[in-house]
């Protein structure tokens, strides 16, 4: 079935449908993460101590998040994600300049950086599990795992989409007409908007969970 797909701006909205669609989706994502942020705020307001008791039946008590979480690793991950946002926008700019090989390079880098982010995250989680710290341990770890976990799922989704546009999805560009190229570029722009949003969420998660 042919999906009607236009990259020309609609006269009523002034933008193409894909762009309006992704922004509506991102608006709903704001509510999803916003709801969880609200949960975090109110759990913390109601807590006697934060992060608080880390082990049942022992005296292990943490007064700051950075006693439990690895700030250097999270800083590294912040840098990785920022870098991947730049490579993503460069991938799109490369298509605008009709340089397909550059696009492949930048999109490849974006995917690799995103995978790097997940590997670092894996080490972080592994360290928590070694300490027998789970989402069920206390509210602090519950918030930590739910928010960073949901974010990691979003990163994974971005990797899948970007990998498609790095590999099989390039067929559209290779068909070679100006229309095909414009459509492919539009898809990369939309995928990029999602990817930048994932970066944006992390920009708020990192200081509020790790540093405060």
């Amino acid at each position: 079935m042919q999906i009607p797909y236009e990259v020309t701006a609609r006269p009523d909205t002034g933008v193409n449908n894909a762009k309006l669609g992704i922004w509506l989706f991102l608006a709903s994502e704001v509510m999803l993460f916003g709801g969880l942020f609200a949960a975090y705020v109110f759990l913390r307001i109601g807590a006697d101590a934060w992060p608080g008791m880390m082990m049942y039946g022992t005296e292990t008590m943490a007064e700051r998040a950075d006693q439990i979480l690895n700030v250097p690793l999270a800083t590294l991950n912040t840098m990785i994600l920022i870098a991947s946002s730049v490579t993503m926008v460069m991938a799109w700019a490369s298509l605008k300049m009709d340089r397909f090989n550059r696009y492949k390079l930048y999109m490849g880098l974006t995917i690799l950086l995103a995978l790097g982010f997940l590997v670092v995250k894996g080490f972080e989680y592994g360290d928590k599990f070694d300490h027998h710290w789970y989402a069920s341990t206390n509210n602090f770890l519950g918030v930590y795992f739910v928010l960073t976990g949901l974010h990691a799922i979003h990163v994974t989704g971005g990797i899948l989409v970007n990998a498609y546009f790095w590999g099989p999805g390039t067929k559209l560009w290779k068909q070679g007409t100006a229309r095909d190229k414009a459509h492919f570029t539009n898809r990369i722009e939309v995928a990029g908007l999602y990817w930048h949003f994932v970066d944006l969420v992390w920009i708020f998660l990192f200081p509020t969970i790790y540093l405060i």
Partner: protein, 114 residues
Amino acid sequence: MAEEMTLEDVKKHVKVYITVFIALAVLTVVTVAVSYLHMPFTPALLVALAIATVKAALVALYFMHLISEKQVILWVLLSAAIFLIGMFALFLGAQADQEDIAVLTKLILSSHVA
């Protein structure tokens, strides 16, 4: 983003992207460095949120092209912001209510004991 962008425009954009990247990296270092000062909670929170907001604005304005985006997108975002604030207001109200109930319960219990 306008479809009618020229090659020159794109090249100018690339320079902006690099500048924004450097700014984001520097701000990340600043926010981590500030956290090592171990300031009291409220100023620490305000500084962290201020830096995060600047970083988020840079990403949204330049990488997501909001700075030159059509009005309809801005309306979508405004509605998201209104709903988000509304949700926080509802939760805040519920929290305040609960505190009132807790205070009342204590009062009632203490009067029974007396």
